[in-house]
């Protein structure tokens, strides 16, 4: 039974959006996941949800970085809603890159996020890209 006490919650105006772009390198993933966890904490997600989102972003970014074109970027956008954060993580890839969904990593994503999907497609003048979209709710759905 969620209590309505908006005055004491640190939540900010709805649908705040944050975008970060880094080189697609594993060494920069801790920065991205720290942003994810900070946004969730400030949006007053419960502790399980904060930690789940942090690990999900870590997993998604690590997967994508492994498939990214050398020298390319990792782009992550976070849309913070009242009770949900939507994440899109994207890298440019080679033409035939696919993201296996019969892997343990995918199961990790499915468990940690409330919803997860992968998109392939061209961006920026036809360059192939992979995008992982995931949603995380602020707490257990009641």
């Amino acid at each position: 039974m969620p209590q309505q006490e908006p005055s004491s919650a640190p939540a900010e105006p709805r649908a705040a959006s944050v975008e970060i772009r880094t080189a697609a390198r594993a060494a920069l993933i801790p920065t991205v996941r720290a942003v994810a966890s900070d946004l969730a904490a400030r949006a007053d997600f419960d502790l399980d949800a904060i930690s789940d989102l942090r690990m999900a972003v870590d997993e998604a970014c690590a997967t994508l970085v492994g498939l990214a074109e050398p020298g390319s970027s990792l782009r992550c956008t976070f849309d913070v809603h009242d009770e949900r954060i939507d994440v899109a993580a994207q890298v440019l890839t080679g033409a035939d890159a696919t993201l296996p969904t019969d892997s343990f990593g995918w199961r990790v994503l499915q468990t940690l996020a409330d919803q997860v999907a992968v998109e392939t497609g061209a961006v920026d003048g036809g360059r192939p890209a992979l995008t992982i979209r995931l949603h995380k709710l602020a707490g257990p759905a009641l």
Partner: protein
């Protein structure tokens, strides 16, 4: 430190002690006398580590543990001076204490205390709410501004406080690994991954393996796992993240070398 006349009378006791059978009734009394006799050495070493954020009393205690280890392990038959064996043994014990408590050297006392209060609040609130609490709920419970709670949570994330978590974890009520992961094991059997996960899971320490199994194959939340395994939610969170990273590196070592 070289042989000191102040301790000369202890040398024959050391020799006698090391010659005793493990179950000799005189051992305990002899050891007490040796510990008391050499205690100034342990105190001296403890004081060298003072003012680094740990109370001197704790340091003396840790140094004394080091001293006892040194007394137990010293073998006069191998030659050599007790001091040249004991001093590194005692300092090593104190250094290990700092390493285990590593965050206490760098984190302000205020944040450390906050971590303890937050952990307590999380476990109380989790029980009453039936889920993990939100930062605002922790703040209300502790009568603190939300910003301070956020700062405390961030510090807990930044500084690996695993030894503190260990201290706060209760051993009561922790079920055994086998009891907990039965269903999860069956679920793992039903899935077939490209990677062979099972041998890697088998390499994990039992507790890490239990936590991963319960989260990803047993459909449990971190808070549920915390209460079943008998450790804090924050500790579960940290162990899960560490274990996932390790598994990922092992599953796909080639691509992660970037």
């Amino acid at each position: 430190m070289t042989a000191d006349p102040e301790y000369a009378h202890l040398t024959p006791l050391l020799e006698e002690y090391s010659g005793l059978e493990p179950d000799d009734p005189r051992r305990e009394e002899l050891r007490d006398r040796l510990v008391t006799g050499y205690l100034p050495v342990a105190q001296h070493i403890a004081r060298r580590f003072n003012h680094r954020g740990e109370p001197l009393d704790d340091l003396v205690q840790v140094a004394t543990v080091g001293l006892i280890n040194a007394i137990d392990r010293f073998d006069p038959g191998k030659g050599g001076e007790f001091f040249s064996f004991a001093v590194p043994t005692i300092s090593g014990e104190v250094r290990r204490h700092f390493r285990d408590q590593s965050w206490s050297m760098r984190v302000p006392r205020r944040l450390k205390d906050m971590h303890v209060s937050i952990n307590g609040a999380v476990s109380e609130l989790s029980q009453t709410l039936g889920r993990s609490p939100k930062p605002s709920e922790i703040a209300r419970h502790l009568d603190l501004p939300v910003n301070e709670v956020l700062e405390g949570l961030e510090a807990a994330e930044a500084y690996r406080s695993s030894s503190l978590d260990e201290m706060l974890s209760s051993e009561d009520g922790s079920a055994t690994v086998g009891e907990l992961v039965g269903d999860a094991d069956a679920e793992l059997d039903r899935v077939d991954y490209r990677e062979s996960l099972r041998p890697l899971l088998a390499e994990l320490a039992p507790r890490e393996r239990t936590i991963v199994m319960l989260r990803f194959f047993g459909n449990r939340t971190q808070t549920q796992i915390a209460s079943e395994v008998g450790i804090s939610q924050m500790h579960v969170s940290r162990l899960l993240a560490q274990t996932l990273t390790r598994l990922r590196d092992r599953l796909d070592p080639g691509e992660r070398a970037l």
